[in-house]
């Protein structure tokens, strides 16, 4: 059985942002924003 070839694990820059940390922060902030909108939606129609 052939063993898998080593992969290139080199960490490139993410698109748009300069660092991965900024990318992660973007995802989490966006998520917080979505939950906030859901909360406002709940309040508006309760």
């Amino acid at each position: 059985m052939n063993e898998p070839e080593p992969l290139d694990a080199q960490e490139d820059r993410p698109p748009i942002f300069k660092t991965w940390n900024q990318m992660y922060l973007f995802v989490l902030v966006l998520h917080a924003l979505i939950i906030s909108l859901f909360y406002l939606f709940t309040q508006a129609y309760s």
């Binding site: 992969l7 080199q10 490139d12 998520h31 309760s46």
Partner: protein, 573 residues
Amino acid sequence: MEIVDWIVMGGTLSFIVLYGIWKTRNVNSVRSYLMGDKDLPWWTIGLSIMATQASAITFLSTPGQAYEEGMQFAQFYFGLPIAMVLLAIFVLPIYYKLNIYTAYEYLESRFDLRTRSLTAVLFLLHRGLAAGITIYAPAIILSSILGWPLRSTVFLIGFLVIFYTVAGGTKAVSVTQKQQMIIILSGMIVAGVILVLQFPEGVRFSDAVGVAGKMGKLKVVDFSFNLNNRYTFWSGMLGGTFLFLSYFGADQSQVQRYLSGKSLTESRLGLLFNGILKVPMQFLVLFVGILVFIFFQFQKPPVHFNQANLDKVEGTVYESGLQALDAEYDVVFNQRQEVITGMIGAIRNDDEAAIGNAQNQLTGLNEQEKKIRQEVDELILTVDPDAKTKDTDYVFLTFVMNYLPVGLVGLLLAVIFSAAMSSTSSELNALATTTVIDIYRRSAVKDKTDKHYLNASRGFTILWGGIALFFALTADLFENLIQAVNIIGSLFYGAILGVFVVAFFMKKVKGRAVFFATLITEAIILGLFYLDHLKIIKLAYLWLNPIGCGLVMLFGFILYRLGVDKGKEPHGA
């Protein structure tokens, strides 16, 4: 179903399957069969991850759940983006560095073979069960539409999925999931638009949503902290994060998807893509359920959504009783329509007193409706004591079959079948991969040729397909299909995640300690679930995930402190 619908459904599904088989006609090695060619870009990985998670169950149960209980289920996914970020930071780089086929291979390098095998077996147990349910769900559709016996339908669908998966392997799974997700998302959006277009004249979208809100269906976020409440912000953020860390980080059906990315960067972006899109997508699916709910406020719904159950009563001495209940249901529906029309006027005029009055009247009418529906259930059970009277999963299907235009019925059925195919094929492929890589090749039959393991992979795919079929034939529809899958997952995910958390973050704890910690934890988790089932304790199943994870960490640490690992050489992670 019209001939046009059959053509749309058959054509769509045939195209996807044939395209997948054609694209994978050159798959002739284990690596290609189980890992693909590792050339996927981030957006394909993201869609593939979403398609794997979004089974037919998602599109049958979720709208029905919104219809019945409102939109609180959206909170279940609140932990998902957090889990995606954590996996992208801590787990993906290690998997890429070790260049592994399965997540469980990592556990041998960190702990020992025994822990790797135990975790792989736990995965095989719960994923094997879940695969059965993902076959069972579309079987309900066909048996309901065509009047076929459920068991024959399960067999037919199961054989088709097994054939497709055996033929294509991982690469076929990935290349078809793009088309499947496009069809799924388009179909759900089209269903939503058609629903809105079918609202009665004079009822605006804002009116309809306002009514749903006043009827308590639009409560998405619930900040109350109640362990017995299944879906709250806290259970989603805490329990959900643990569940999704385990599902995406340690469930081979997902790990296999992002390990076929062409680089670490592409895989990371694929996970984050899923993290961004998944919660809005679930909101959309739930909102379609709300639109169905609104639609049936103006269009009389059946007194029971599973027509097959009603058919059982027809022609018996209880038929006249059913007709009487249906007539009562008509009266309640008409009264309700009047109240809702009044409520729309009150909402437009912002008349709080009138709105409150309408809400009170609706509460009373809902109680009457609930009582009638319960009496119908009792009639059904009198005729067939083994009948499943919970009809939530039939709500969306009833709308699709009876109210969508010709052609779109076929498209929506293609959506459900695409979802079933995408998730089931991923599951069977992952089950076969784990069996071959972690058990068969590692411990049972070593040093054979590539062709031997390729044939074994195909053989185990067939075997797991057979096991999934068996569970599909015997699984009880004990509550709600999607909840059943999640409950099964929660029994094992916590412990599996605990093993991985110890592996990543508790470097001093070694194989023997974590192995016994996992066994003890699994016994406790099953005990807690049984106590909850007996109603001795009350514990929502999502909490089993953090409890399971925490217990493995706790017992692992205690056993380490007791010297269980004494004499063991440390392994690097």
